[in-house]
Amino acid sequence: MEQLLENFSLDLFVKQTILFLIIIFLMVKFAWKPIMNALNEREEGIQGALDAAENAKKEMANLQADNEKLLKEARAEREAMLKDARDIKTKMIDDAKAEAKAEADKMVAQAQASIEAERKSAIADLKSQVAVLSVEIAEKVVKSELSDKEKQLGLVNEMLGKATLN
């Protein structure tokens, strides 16, 4: 301890303190401050770049997810459209079929009705003609039959002969 104190030189202590304070001041001003600022700036830059990369990655993932979603939606839409089209097609065919059938039925029915009507009118016509004809025939027959008196008398006789008078 005594030797320690003897070795201690106040002059050197004072000189060292002053010089060291000057060194600290100069180093802080010309070295540490700019170095620290540059280092911080650089580290912030690196951090910023990393963050930006991370964000870009996230955005990319989001975009991809969006794309996937869009694709899915588009696919679903296409499916739906195709289904609709198919439905419409089926419906159109069915409708057309039904309509055609109905039309055909209607035409058949009309034809049948007109045939019936024709037939009926034909029959009615026939009937009236038959009646006229039969009347004419009957008239002619009757005329011709009645024109031969002898024969008429023979016939009446024959008939009278067959008839048994009871």
Partner: protein
């Protein structure tokens, strides 16, 4: 490759710079020889080695590189003088340390500005008025002389200046590099991770959020101590961090920083510790105060001083083995033993140089961190995801 080229240029520059010094050194050799070599034989006894080691550990007024003996047995010192600046009874005096002719025993008297100065055990004394030679008492203390205030550029001050300028040069260049590029090149690439290391491993974890304010000091102190420790290991180096005045100055600056940045919570807990009986509070406050103001800085200054001094002493002692064991192991044997041992202790010292810088800086950061720590007791606890953690006491109460 570029780095290698730059370091080659650096060392070439160093060599070129040292040429004028050696030329200057030759000048001082002549004066020494003219005085007729003070000691006639090399350092080779145990007592001389001990003195040599102690002398090396001390600060000195000239920069001594090495000594050699010429054919006629005269000792030549190679080095360069440093300016001596004194504030004595007759005001300011300045001269070069070569005026003392390497004398350290108070024999050479330098007369300047009406005052007479002698150098004794690496310290300069001013003789009282009218005295022409220094006189000693029984304990070999000078009796007829006083110590002037010594503003000299001593070896340590020279070291501080050189390292300070070197740090300023290196790191301001690194700072300038950032203006034009994001990542430094060349030597800056070596320095940058060290700066980041001090910031991320020492300042941030120990101080916390307000680390930014103190990083300047911590970085300066870390590189200052580390570089000076390393330079101290070099053959011609200076033992700056082994000067207790230097480590004391560093510790006092740390003390001043944490005393003046201490918040209410720090002082409150120190002087009036909550949670213990009132009787003990003043006593504990006193103990804490002594611990904070004296023991903490004292441990800082002594740890660094003792480690570096011990390291230098051990390295030099192991080198001295080569001299002392020559008789029993022969010259070759003792040299090999000494080389082998000092090589490994040197490697350990390289580690210690870093370690002590790290410890000093970390403890400074820790003390500052304790002084600026916030009162966290009333705040809600949060886990690492920022979710609130229920206090265990609250949970326990809700069960009973």
């Amino acid at each position: 490759m570029k780095v290698a080229l730059k370091s080659i240029t650096f060392f070439t520059l160093l060599v070129v710079l040292s040429i004028p010094f050696s030329a200057f050194a030759k000048g001082s050799i002549e004066t020494t020889t003219a005085k007729g070599g003070v000691k006639g034989d090399p350092v080779n006894t145990q007592a001389e080695i001990k003195e040599y080691i102690q002398h090396h550990l001390k600060d000195s007024h000239d920069f001594h590189l090495f000594s050699y003996f010429s054919e006629n047995g005269e000792e030549h010192h190679v080095g360069f003088p440093l300016p001596v600046m004194l504030w004595g009874e007759n005001g300011f005096t300045a001269f070069m340390s070569s005026a003392f002719h390497h004398d350290d025993s108070g024999e050479v008297v330098v007369e300047k500005n009406g005052s007479r100065f002698v150098k004794l055990h690496s310290k300069i004394y001013e003789l009282n008025a009218g005295q022409t030679a220094v006189q000693f008492d029984a304990d070999h203390h000078a009796v007829n002389a006083s110590k002037p205030f010594d503003l000299s550029i001593t070896k340590s001050v020279f070291g501080i200046l050189v390292i300070g300028l070197l740090m300023l040069f290196w790191f301001s260049r690194l700072a300038k590099q950032y203006k034009s590029k994001k990542v430094p090149t060349g030597f800056g690439r070596v320095l940058e991770p060290l700066v980041v290391y001090v910031r991320d491993e020492i300042a941030k974890p120990n101080i916390g959020e307000s680390y930014r304010k103190f990083t300047g000091y911590l970085l300066t102190v870390f590189f200052f101590i580390w570089i000076l420790n390393l330079v101290g290991l070099m053959p011609f180096g200076f033992n700056v961090t082994g000067q207790i005045a230097v480590t004391a100055a560093l510790a006092v600056i740390t003390l001043v920083i944490y005393v003046f940045s201490g918040n209410k919570h720090f002082w409150g807990h120190m002087l009036w510790m909550p949670g213990i009986p009132y009787i003990f509070r003043p006593l504990l406050g006193l103990i804490e105060l002594v611990g904070t103001l004296i023991i903490k800085p004292f441990s800082l200054l002594v740890r660094l001083f003792a480690n570096i001094t011990a390291g230098h002493t051990v390295v030099m002692s192991l080198i001295a083995v080569g001299i002392l064991l020559q008789e029993s192991l022969s010259a070759v044997g003792s040299t090999l033993v000494s080389l082998f041992l000092s090589l490994f202790i040197m490697l350990i010292e390289l580690l210690v140089a870093f370690l002590q810088a790290y410890i000093f800086t970390t403890l400074s950061a820790l003390f500052i961190g304790m002084a600026v720590a916030d009162d966290h007791h009333d705040e809600e606890l949060h886990d690492e995801h920022g979710e609130k953690i229920e206090d265990t006491e609250v949970i326990r109460k809700s069960f009973s």
